[in-house]
Symmetry: C2
Subunit: 485 residues, 2 copies
């Protein structure tokens, strides 16, 4: 039997109508009551457009108050939000739109050429709304959002999140971090990623404000921590580095009680610097499939367990399919873990068994049960907080005339954490330059996925069963920042 | 699909092994790790006694570390704890034991003559344990506890609580009160009531200590608030009055952030006094069926909304079956609400429809949605924090030879809040004294249920359909503390 709760925004607007829900960098604020009224109004306008229960509605936007309103509006209709990465090409977007059966895409502008019907937020605001009933309750087992991740096969998979997944993620985090009515969460991570979206939903569930940046800006982020009463912020390694570089002799206010660090393991030297600056870093581990963090290290243990991601949150479990203290694949389980991939029973079956999610990541736990990630997902490249799946790039580029074989790996990079680099074997009697390949790549891939270096090899390392042996590619890396051989 | 979480005590022992779980008045403390180990050990000994999954096991004890251990031990076996009120007579206990099919009663001593097998806690400790597997997970939809309440029919009904009911109750409270790792909850309410039991379970879920009194003692309670770092305490009106009477020129430390007041509406004068003493009182409304508080008033609103119980907790809903602002029956809904009465489909059907619990209480909400209870359950008598159901007393006493008709109501009392008083119409040609009736009552009822005053009437007020018109009985009340007419 599914659990039913009152609609969370309606409820928070009733409990704390005057409390700030959203605070923007220009000083504009929205209370929970205002946010509810705007979201309900937007929902009624969407009804005029024909949006109904279970309809798949794309949302293509950087962080913006209209995006927040649109997300909540969908929940008032029981519609499903397909959260689209604004950095994707039209071709990549269309793959997701078609796969999810998206009826309508809501955007900041409608300049994109997409396979689905498009409406800008202002198009919707200009409509008349219906007078129909809106949802007053939330059924926790219903699907609220779908967010695509590319799997190792390179085909993007739509991770389904129920309302319950988001709820339990928020509750699990609260049990770890505690909750004060003075909390304010800083969000610069995009809300089309689960890392940003989860901040928005925690705000509604906890009754605390989100200080929202339209996009990450290191000065604005630093200012917000310094002067805006922020108590918790979600960051990736690059952002932590940016913060430290701006601190100088200053310190953040003591009211800043948590910097939740996700998006890949952080270098020890950086964590030690953060400690010197008395920044309360909580390292964490999570993925789209776990509705954000599922394993978190508290600052009390940060230096004692340096490099660890911590322990699974209260409602979550962890196991490693290897003998104790040895490296194996990481499995996680808990009510914040996705029930599967949209319309993709095969991938769901491969990843989920008996509630346990095979993360594809390798790691081990120490004697006290603290998790250490060895490979943040085998081969996954994380560049400036974006996940890049080598196989997706390989698949795209291998379609290019003249490319015989290709392998992509991540290369350490001071600015981005990692950058994707490609190793190419060219067909005999073909001439291909790095520029040719980059031109092709730029046409078919989001900019952040375009390999930043191209290496030419006669032959890619493959094992007996013809699988690429990626780690051997690393031997060919040079240290240049951009280089074509 | 039911949600599965790791066993909550095992989990807390992993996350916070050194954190204090239980603190006793004699200074003894138990960490979560110790509590887990003792509970698992006790569970294995219970296995030796044949306790298996789904077995109904009575727990008959005042607050005691062994009671805490026994409760957790049952959860490691998937057994169901039937929480027995130590103040009940053997006859009353046996009704519950038989109704619930209790296999074994765990007690502090085994002096009672009961229909079920009995083992004292020390009997169990003296056994050898098995080596069998214990539960490592909790399925939230499984039944954990049964607590009997007498309904208006007078037949006690076994309220079933799933693990999920307790979980959601704890989470709902946390979303209202916030959570700090410095919290410590004072428990003097008995753990055989849901008000006390819920404190124990919040402690495990939140990872905070319970300061546990074996039973309520006004001096110990006051001392605990003064000197033991308690931040939250659960109280009933009588206890709040006791506290204020002991304060004199003192004030409780500022770290005391919440006195959660339940067990019936508090007089306005008392709430105003509490305000003068800067005691942060949170009035609340709840019952066994809602796994403790479901409606709570925050101190910010305490005097503005004097007499109100507040608003439903975040995961809960409330409706009144009457036009807006008018008095009607109170209905509540939420994942902390019982799924029904054990082995009693009739009463379950009468009380629960579509997730909504008919509380039997009358009340109204003001324009802002704050709840006011008009009758704390129609006719329910609350005496020293104990619920007394007039119909139960009436049913018992009407079995006495010579009693023609009887009605019981509560009378206001300075010490107990209310006391039960009885109105009796005697059969013609029969001589019955108040003493006769009291002797009979003392044999069949727990002491606190024995009417403290007996009034003799020629005729009880009954309406056309022969229903007792209780409010007319009030006209016959005198102010004497104990009196027989």
């Amino acid at each position: 039997m599914t659990e039913i709760i009152p609609h969370w925004l309606t409820k928070q607007a009733d409990l704390a109508p005057e409390q700030t829900a959203i605070e923007l960098t220009n000083g504009t604020t929205y209370t929970f009551l205002e946010l509810k009224e705007k979201s309900q109004s937007f929902a009624r306008k969407l009804q005029t457009l024909g949006v109904r229960k279970s309809a798949k509605i794309g949302i293509l936007s950087t962080n913006h108050i209209d995006m927040v309103i649109a997300i909540h509006a969908l929940s008032y209709l029981g519609a499903v939000g397909v959260m689209l990465n604004v950095r994707l090409t039209e071709k990549e977007l269309n793959y997701q739109l078609n796969d999810a059966g998206v009826e309508l895409v809501l955007t900041q502008d409608n300049e994109k050429m997409l396979d689905s019907k498009i409406a800008s937020f202002s198009d919707v605001w200009n409509l008349h709304g219906t007078q129909s009933e809106l949802s007053s309750e939330i059924h926790l087992n219903e699907i609220f959002t779908i967010i695509y991740t590319s799997g190792t096969t390179g085909f993007p998979k739509g991770v389904m999140h129920t309302y319950g997944n988001h709820w339990w993620s928020a509750v699990g985090s609260m049990l770890n971090l505690g909750l004060s009515k003075h909390d304010k969460w800083l969000a610069a991570l995009p809300m089309f990623h689960v890392s940003g979206l989860s901040i928005l939903l925690r705000s509604v569930i906890y009754g605390i404000p989100v200080f929202m940046l339209e996009k990450y800006d290191k000065h604005q982020f630093h200012e917000a921590l310094m002067k805006k009463g922020v108590t918790i912020a979600s960051v990736v390694t690059m952002m932590l580095r940016d913060l430290i570089s701006q601190l100088g002799d200053d310190r953040y206010p003591e009211t800043l009680r948590c910097l939740l660090l996700g998006g890949g393991p952080a270098p020890e030297s950086l964590l030690e610097k953060a400690k010197d600056y008395q920044i309360p870093v909580f390292q964490s581990y999570g993925m789209t499939e776990t509705s954000s963090q599922i394993v978190t290290l508290s600052p009390g243990k940060a230096l004692e367990k340096i490099g660890s991601s911590g322990k699974p949150l209260f409602p979550a479990q962890l196991k490693i399919n290897a003998p104790k203290a040895q490296i194996g694949e990481i499995y996680v389980k808990g009510p914040m873990v996705t029930k599967g991939y949209f319309n993709n029973a095969d991938e769901t079956r491969k990843s989920l068994e008996d509630g346990w999610l095979a993360t594809g990541d390798l790691g081990y736990t120490d004697a006290e049960g603290f998790l250490y990630i060895v490979d943040r997902r085998k081969d996954l490249i994380i560049s400036g907080g974006e996940n890049i799946y080598p196989s997706e790039i390989e698949k795209t580029l291998s379609a290019m005339e003249g490319i015989r074989d290709i392998g992509v790996i991540g290369k350490a990079n001071g600015t981005w954490g990692q950058i994707p680099v490609a190793f190419v074997a060219v067909e005999h009697s073909t001439v291909l330059t790095a520029d040719n390949i980059l031109t092709f790549a730029e046409k078919h891939l989001a900019k952040y996925k375009v390999p930043k270096e191209i290496y030419f090899l006669n032959q890619l390392p493959r094992n007996a069963s013809n699988k690429l042996v990626r780690h051997q590619l690393k031997d060919h890396l040079t240290d240049n920042d951009f280089q074509s051989h």
